[in-house]
């Protein structure tokens, strides 16, 4: 079974890669493109560590075949910060609110939060908890993550007005 040559559009960059058709997007991002910000936890759709945005929607990259992402827009955690010196408001809020401990869940958590805020810019606490229901964190107890998302939502709203 031959490799398939595909074009991956990740964080605005284009990569041509030859991949085995059974490999997942998570594996190809990490092992071929060396974008190791995307984590693999459960490898079965439960934990959300592998969350990336595919055409703007949050998906589990451990259950997405890389070939299915051919020529579609992918955003990983590496693509969030606007410049090397500036963090995205969500990243900034996670740092400020102590929402990062070991950090393993953080990339997926932040991308899931980004998807949430794009669809619902002013979520209630309950909506944040539901929106992050596909992401597990074994360190923080979630409260600080919820606070960080609330803060980022305000920051983003203020940014839009200002």
């Amino acid at each position: 079974m031959a490799k398939q040559t595909i074009e991956l559009r990740v964080n605005g960059d284009r990569y041509e890669v030859a991949v085995d058709p059974w490999r997942t997007l998570a594996e190809v991002l990490r092992e071929e493109l060396r974008l190791t910000g995307t984590k693999i936890g459960c490898n079965q759709g439960d934990c959300g560590a592998c969350t990336v945005l595919l055409d703007g929607r949050s998906v589990s990259s451990c259950l997405t075949l890389a070939v299915e992402a051919h020529q579609r827009e992918i955003t990983t955690i590496e693509g969030l910060a606007p410049s090397p010196d500036h963090l995205h408001p969500l990243q900034q809020a996670f740092v400020q609110h102590g929402a990062v401990q070991c950090g393993f869940c953080t990339p997926g958590m932040i991308l899931a939060a980004k998807h949430l805020l794009e669809n619902n810019p002013q979520p209630t606490e309950q909506e944040i908890r539901r929106g992050l229901g596909g992401n597990l964190c074994r360190c923080t107890g979630y409260n600080k993550i919820v606070e960080a998302v609330q803060a980022a939502a305000q920051e983003l709203a203020a940014g839009k007005e200002g």
Binding site: M1, A2, Q4, D20, P21, W22, R23, T24, N43, Q44, G45, D46, G48, T51, R57, S58, V59, S60, L63, T64, L65, V67, E68, H70, A112, H115, L116, R130, G131, G133, G134, N135
Partner: protein
């Protein structure tokens, strides 16, 4: 367990997809969101040498609602998109609820309604609401097209009457009549994320005098397939739906289920919850049918 090796085909039309299926006959599987299929391949040893992806087939993600035709859910329409479609939210609240609370946001962004039905898990969350709404599947094969009532679709855990070379092109759901209310309730351990331990969907349609013209009740996760509660439906049809009757009908749903003990819940707990959820669903359906929302 490692992923078995396969080739992926990405047809652009339904014709091409059907051709690919018949060309590779044995050892071919359709791939939609992959949230069931890839899990089974990686963890349960399911094998296929060829996967035919439906994700680039033109028009297959369409969702449309018209009063005359009802709802048409394309064979690759994803759960999240169905859940937030305005026509679904307005006319099919039980389905909208199922599609927006099941699994996780990520899985709902990937998984499809057709995949949920064809996978035929007893706990499939879209099955009970779609049974209550009287949905049918439109299945295409190279030779032609047939319509299968969802009620006749499931044969057992993981089994349906769909033939291996058939593709579900769409799911059709009739438009609900006037004075109609519907609802879905589910229970699971890890709030939404876990597979449902019990799911109950209902629909009540009242006549001009406020009597029950039609009732549909369906259960998920408490029998080898999603099931209708015919006894409860018959208790209600033709009757004035007072609270006592709703409570008795809800309680009778327990006789339509054959739950098992598993990691998610005991059979006894499932039975108790079927009654509670069925009663809750019926009350909500009645309130909606009488026009008093919430």
């Amino acid at each position: 367990m490692a992923m078995p090796h396969f080739t992926v085909h990405q047809p652009k039309t339904l014709e091409q997809a059907l051709d690919l299926l018949s060309r590779h006959r044995s050892g071919v599987k359709l791939l939609a969101g992959g949230t069931d299929l890839l899990m089974k391949m990686r963890q349960a040893g399911l094998k296929a040498e060829h996967l035919v992806s439906l994700n680039r087939v033109e028009g297959l993600r369409t969702i449309s609602y018209r009063d005359e035709d009802g709802l048409v859910i394309g064979g690759a329409a994803r759960l999240a998109d169905v859940g937030r479609h305005p026509g679904v939210a307005q006319h099919y609240p039980a389905l909208a609820h199922a599609c927006s609370v099941m699994a996780t946001p990520q899985i709902r962004n990937m998984g499809t309604v057709a995949g949920n039905l064809v996978n035929a898990a007893p706990s499939a969350d879209t099955a009970a609401p779609l049974l209550a709404y009287g949905a049918s599947l439109v299945a295409v094969e190279r030779g032609g097209r047939r319509q299968i009532k969802l009620q006749d679709f499931f044969r057992g855990p993981g089994l349906s009457v769909l033939e291996p070379l058939e593709i579900v092109e769409a799911i059709r759901v009739p438009a609900p009549p006037a004075r109609c209310g519907s609802a879905y309730e589910r229970l699971s351990a890890r709030s939404q994320v876990d597979i449902a331990a019990v799911g109950v969907a209902g629909l009540l349609n009242l006549d001009l005098e406020g009597r029950v013209l039609r009732c549909r009740l369906a259960l998920g996760a408490v029998a080898p397939t999603p099931v209708r509660c015919l006894e409860a439906e018959q208790m209600l049809e033709g009757q004035a739906p007072d609270e006592a009757l709703l409570m008795r009908a809800g309680a009778s749903c327990v006789r339509s289920c054959q739950p098992i003990d598993d990691v998610r819940a005991s059979a006894a707990f499932r039975r108790a919850m079927v009654q509670v959820l069925a009663q809750r669903v019926l009350k909500r359906c009645l309130a909606l049918a009488q026009g008093g929302a919430s």
